[in-house]
């Protein structure tokens, strides 16, 4: 029995949702992915509750320090140990089933440990007062120590946690994906649905891994130097170049922005992989593979330098030519998305759709992704950026991009669930989940964007300052709707029933085998 299976067995409540069926012969592609998914949901539960607490802290005018602590904890938990870990879990299972390679050995265990131990250390640091917000806002962590806002030990602990998470995202995970995609023995018993690199459902996965590896490297190097000097191994004076705010900020956003793009590329490729399995006429083919791949390449090419839109308002310290470049590239990603929209709708139009809660989750996640994309390109326009940067618009965008991608993954997960656990879900609960979560997420997004349009600042502990509380109240309302949706999703997983052993085999299943 694999270590991950043992841990799952011993986990109350959540272990029940993602138990491993040891008789189906798929433990080697299910065990670690399932454990990662379960753990990501634990983080989601915590992060969601913290998220709901934020408008409540403002509403009841509690301590502003508490608000910034919640803000930092909420963002950090949602982006990394929930969002990224969910993606890694579902992604590695998909990769295993598509390439016929096991997800076993030291590397998956290290991925799991680095992600969760790193996130736990960061969380402890935040509880110690390390309220630097999700994006670190360097040099704030250091300035905060100098001005007595938090302790030096919380800074060291927090950066150590971030370091572990970065190593996992930038090195371990991409290596695991590349290893499975290009090396190792292919096993027929693990191959659920063979895919090669010309398949959009596989291409995105490999491209995303490369993006993380390449665009994360500068940050990994900068962060390593900073960490080593925080430990006192080398003096700060020796690394002044890496301590320049502008170096850290640019390295950070090259990574953070491309991390989002990599996740988007991966998730779009998962949509391309999943949608064809639900076509009414059983063709299992996209409208055009070529168009689908073209969209992925356009996303890749336009996205890597569009991170410059984070610094438009730094003018003229960032030359306007670079601002315009970031602006144009951002709208270029819109062209890639327009191609994706066409491919998906043309596929459905051509072949008809076999409706099911899993594919509906994917489609609603995609609609949210387009909502987010339109908000993102608008704020990347140089004229609008100056009026929206630093407002709630940006928080609405960040939240929606994470939520839409998570929703897409949860749809893909819904689809894979029978193969991953040997159990099936209830469709009625499935539809309730999609409905509630879509309304909650879209509502929260539109309210937060509206707050930004009204000038409501993000990461700001005093919404009463200029009548912004109303946006907070509505965000809270839609937050509760989202929470209800997630509760139904969890309930569905918890109540799932075993698929009759005799009826079960990957090939006999209409949908679940990728």
């Amino acid at each position: 029995m694999l270590a991950a299976t043992k841990i799952l067995r011993g986990t109350p409540l959540f272990g029940r949702m993602f138990g491993i069926d040891q008789n189906d012969g798929l433990e080697e592609i299910n065990s670690w992915p399932n454990l990662m998914i379960v753990t990501s949901f634990v983080w989601l539960a915590v992060a969601g509750l913290i998220g709901l607490s934020m408008p409540l802290i403002q509403r009841f005018e509690l301590d502003s320090d508490l608000y910034y602590l919640a803000l930092t904890a909420h963002g950090a938990a949602l982006a990394f140990p929930f969002g990224f870990q969910l993606m890694v879990g579902v992604g590695l299972h998909r990769n295993g089933g598509c390439s016929g390679k096991a997800v076993t050995g030291t590397l998956p265990a290290l991925i799991y440990i680095f992600m969760n131990v790193g996130s736990a250390l960061l969380t402890v640091a935040i509880l110690m007062g390390f309220s630097v917000s999700l994006v670190v806002m360097y040099p704030l962590p250091v300035v905060g120590v100098e001005t007595g806002q938090w302790s030096y030990s919380s800074l060291v602990l927090g950066f150590t946690g971030i370091g572990l998470v970065l190593i996992m995202m930038i090195l371990l995970y991409p290596i695991q994906v590349l290893k499975m995609s290009f090396f190792g023995k292919e096993r027929d018993d693990l191959t659920l649905n063979k895919r090669t690199l010309d398949d959009p459902g596989m291409l995105g996965m490999v491209v995303a891994a490369l993006v993380l590896l390449v665009f994360g490297m500068p940050l990994l190097i900068v962060a390593s130097y900073v960490l080593v000097s925080l430990y006192g191994i080398i003096p700060f004076e020796a690394i002044t170049f890496f301590l320049e705010p502008v170096i850290f900020q640019f390295a950070f956003f090259v990574f953070a922005h491309n991390l989002m793009e990599a996740m988007a590329i991966m998730v779009i490729s998962a949509v391309y992989g999943t949608l064809p399995l639900y076509l009414a006429d059983g063709t299992r083919e996209l409208y055009s593979k070529k168009l689908a791949n073209l969209a992925i390449w356009i996303l890749l090419i336009t996205s890597f330098s569009s991170f410059l839109h984070h610094f438009i308002t730094l003018f003229p310290n960032m030359p306007s030519a670079l601002a315009y470049h970031g602006h144009i590239m951002s709208w270029g990603t819109g062209i890639g998305s327009a191609l994706s929209i066409f491919t998906i709708l043309a596929t459905i139009w051509k072949h008809g759709l076999r409706m099911n809660p899993g594919v509906l989750t994917v489609l609603m996640g995609f609609a949210l992704y387009v909502l987010d994309g339109s908000s993102a390109i608008v704020t990347s326009n140089v004229a609008w950026s100056f009026q929206l940067h630093g407002t709630m618009w940006q928080s609405g965008h960040t939240m929606t991009v994470l939520i839409s991608m998570s929703m897409l993954w949860m749809g893909v997960l819904y689809h894979h669930y029978p193969v991953m656990t040997g159990r099936k879900l209830d469709d009625t609960l499935g539809y309730w989940w999609v409905g509630l979560f879509t309304v909650g997420a879209a509502g929260a997004a539109l309210v937060m964007l509206a707050g930004g349009a009204a000038g409501m600042p993000r990461r700001h502990a005093d919404w009463a300052q200029d009548g912004w509380m109303i946006y907070g109240d509505w965000t809270l309302f839609f937050g509760f709707v989202m929470a209800a949706g997630l509760f139904v999703y969890a309930l569905n997983l918890f109540k799932s029933r075993w698929i009759d052993d005799t009826a079960f085999s990957p090939s006999a299943q209409p949908g679940p085998a990728e």
Binding site: L140, S374, Q387, R459
Partner: protein
């Protein structure tokens, strides 16, 4: 006609909806029609799919190009460059930001006269965002410490009144209290 669109956050919101709503209409039409009403395969030939493909992409490119070209004259970068190149009499205001306050060289300013704000941060990331008395954010400037020169912008105010200055880059536990004011008076 583009003034309202490009000079407030609500214009941006309208633009977002302008792209989103048609998408949602087409999206739900296709999904509902082809899953609930009639999931049978389409009889349309390849040519008509191609026609829609070009129509859709053409429309997207047209909207993208039109909106962005129209926005050029409203870009603070462009406005600043034009004002700097003209012979207009520019009034200089220097701003220094430190956690959690501003030092602004002149806080009573004239309406109608181009003002060059040059702002620097002394410690961590801050911003210098100016809010119109009606609550709209007019512009924000990101201030990064240890840069060679200041972040700088030329802006000409239209209305007299009390404008609020806020920091919009999270800068620590009293970030929300980092505020100041500008008073705009009619020119004499």
């Amino acid at each position: 006609m583009f003034d309202a669109l490009f000079q407030s956050g609500w214009g941006a919101y309208a633009m977002m909806l302008f792209m989103l709503i048609p998408f949602l209409c087409i999206f739900f039409y296709v999904v509902i029609r082809k899953s609930i009403i009639d999931p049978s395969p389409s009889t349309a030939d390849k040519k008509s799919f191609k026609k829609f493909e070009y129509l859709w992409m053409g429309l997207v490119v047209f909207v993208f190009v039109t909106v962005n070209v129209a926005s050029i004259q409203f870009m603070p970068t462009v406005i600043t460059a034009n004002a700097a190149a003209s012979d207009e009499n520019i009034f200089d205001v220097d701003v220094s930001a430190v956690s959690w306050s501003y030092d602004i060289s002149e806080q009573t300013l004239e309406v109608g006269r181009p003002i060059r704000f040059s702002a620097k941060s002394e410690d961590t990331m801050h911003s210098f965002a100016v809010y119109h008395p009606d609550g709209r954010m007019l512009f924000t400037m990101m201030l990064m410490p240890k840069m060679d020169g200041p972040t700088s912008l030329i802006y000409t105010f239209k209305d007299p009144g009390t404008y609020t200055v806020r920091c919009l880059e999270y800068c620590g536990l009293s970030h929300h209290d980092m505020r100041d004011e500008l008073t705009l008076v009619a020119s004499n």
